[in-house]
Amino acid sequence: MLDDFFTRALVAGIGLALVVGPLGCFVVWRRMAYFGDTMAHSALLGVALSFLFEINLTAGVFVVAALASVALLFLQRHGTLSTDALLGILSHSTLALGLVMVAFMSWIRIDLMAFLFGDILTVSRLDIAMIYGGGALVLLVLAWLWRPLLAATVNQEIAEAEGMRPERARFIFMLLMAAMIAIAMKIVGIMLITSLLIIPAAAARRFASTPETMAVAASLAGAIAVIGGLNASLQFDTPSGPSIVVAALILFLLSLAPISLRKPAALKSGGKT
């Protein structure tokens, strides 16, 4: 079944979407969109360093993304610049550093476009194993972390006063994000990872009444976007990564449509929203 490149792409993409959904919800709830973007951009620096030191690509990206988030936390606490400015500096300087380093390494040919925008159609069986293995691990840790992380998201002080250790929860969440970015890079590319985090979660908001249902709905929305995007990319010969993002965007726009979904009674009485 996995012999066909398109099937492999579908399986990989759906697996990724399932993992990304709950993480993306936290990114949206905690208003970390730009933070996620910064971590994703630092992945290119990770790619360059991995080639330079000849280490495993996924491991290199994970370490650099995690370091970027730690650096950010440190600067936030001890610096005088606003978080906004810090994010702007880190985000683009890590990306630029990565690009410059790649340019210096003339002895190897690196397909930059594949890293920046993903190349889901070339995923191997090993990649799929990585997505499902790593993804399952990420989800397990997130499930274990759920209550303290959610408590810290609602209110850091309540969480801390009532013994939830929010700082630890936040740090572990950063590691999960870094892991997810390392896994997702090949599928949608560095530039588009954040969109896969945020758009399905945002689309899921209207259909959810608890944080837990929103996480599940975000996973489903992501999976639908992957299926729709990949099929469209096959049909119209468009790049696969961006096609998935466009499909997610369409889902999000549909979720804004003024139709009542949770109140069938209201529908009967004249389609009240």
Binding site: W29, R147, V154, N155, E157, A161, A202, P211
Partner: protein, 284 residues
């Protein structure tokens, strides 16, 4: 389970000469404060006097830069912070809010919501609540945990005047029922008077402390809040000195329940009186 008898009086938090130093100045310094089981301690003071800082030190959100803070081992805290905003993107019902920091069975959730007077809002999303309703939801959440120490930072923000009195009434009832200790911050002494055992008046340090009646009369308090403070208080005292019970009777500050509503009208006649001492005498 907490019992109001037996363990009463055991210190839950003990602060000795505690202070917090930030960017070149002391936010608060030299605080001695003890909250015991079954005791309601109220912190009052002007803006920037270190009330929130003191409370945060007491429950370990801030570490003291000098002095010591001792908490009873495995102290279970229920905390209602000054301001909580929940992002719209987070779907959170009042019911779900209850189990934010720990699992609870449905019965306890329902009881806490009932006690806070918002049982009808169990399924409402927190973003749709009014300021007062949300405060009650946060209070219910802290209560449902059955904490040893209930900590409330200005719990009446966004609550109208009658709601304010009802909320303090509720806090006092909770203390009576569960025997927990209560540490609360209030910006106005007059409303909390009936519901508090000890008042600590802060202004960067502890300027006076004691029973509400004593603090009211202390020169430090008058200096801090101005000479007119006593006067205003005299007016407000009548609002909280007694409680109107459902059957029309009146419960007085000392706990006596009287049938005579006359007493209450009499009090209101004196609103605007420029003789606070007279009001005090009268209130007794």
């Amino acid at each position: 389970m907490l019992q109001s008898t037996g363990k009463s009086g055991e210190p839950l938090v003990e602060m000795k000469n505690a202070g917090v130093h930030r960017s070149g100045r002391w936010l608060v310094r030299g605080v001695d404060l003890t909250v015991r089981r079954g005791e309601i301690v109220t912190l009052i003071g002007p803006n920037g006097s270190g009330k929130s800082t003191t409370v945060k030190m007491a429950i370990g959100l801030l570490q003291p830069d000098e002095g010591t803070v001792r908490r009873a081992p495995s102290l279970k805290v229920g905390y209602v912070p000054q301001k909580v905003t929940v992002d719209w993107t987070l779907p959170l019902s009042v019911e779900r809010l209850m189990t934010l920091t720990g699992g609870l069975d449905r019965k306890k959730i329902a009881e806490a919501l009932e006690a806070a007077g918002i049982a009808h809002l169990a399924r409402a999303e927190v973003q749709a609540l009014s300021g007062g309703e949300f405060q009650r939801a946060l209070l219910a959440r802290a209560l449902a945990r059955e904490p040893d120490l209930l900590v409330l930072d200005e719990p009446v923000q966004g609550v109208d005047f009658t709601g304010e009195i009802a909320l303090y009434q509720l806090i006092s009832e909770i203390r009576d029922r569960t025997g927990c200790g209560v540490l609360l911050i209030s910006h106005d002494l007059h409303v909390v008077m009936a519901a508090t055992d000890t008042v600590v008046c802060l202004n960067g340090h502890v300027c006076c402390r004691g029973t509400p009646e004593n603090v009211l009369k202390s020169p430090e308090y008058v200096r801090l809040f101005g000479a007119r403070a006593g006067e205003t208080l005299a007016i407000y005292r009548h609002h909280h000195d007694h409680t109107h019970l459902a059957d029309g009777r009146v419960r007085q500050a000392d706990g006596r329940i009287v049938d005579d509503p006359h007493m209450h009208h009499h009090g209101h006649d004196h609103i605007g009186s420029d003789c606070p001492d007279g009001e005090h005498d009268h209130a007794r």
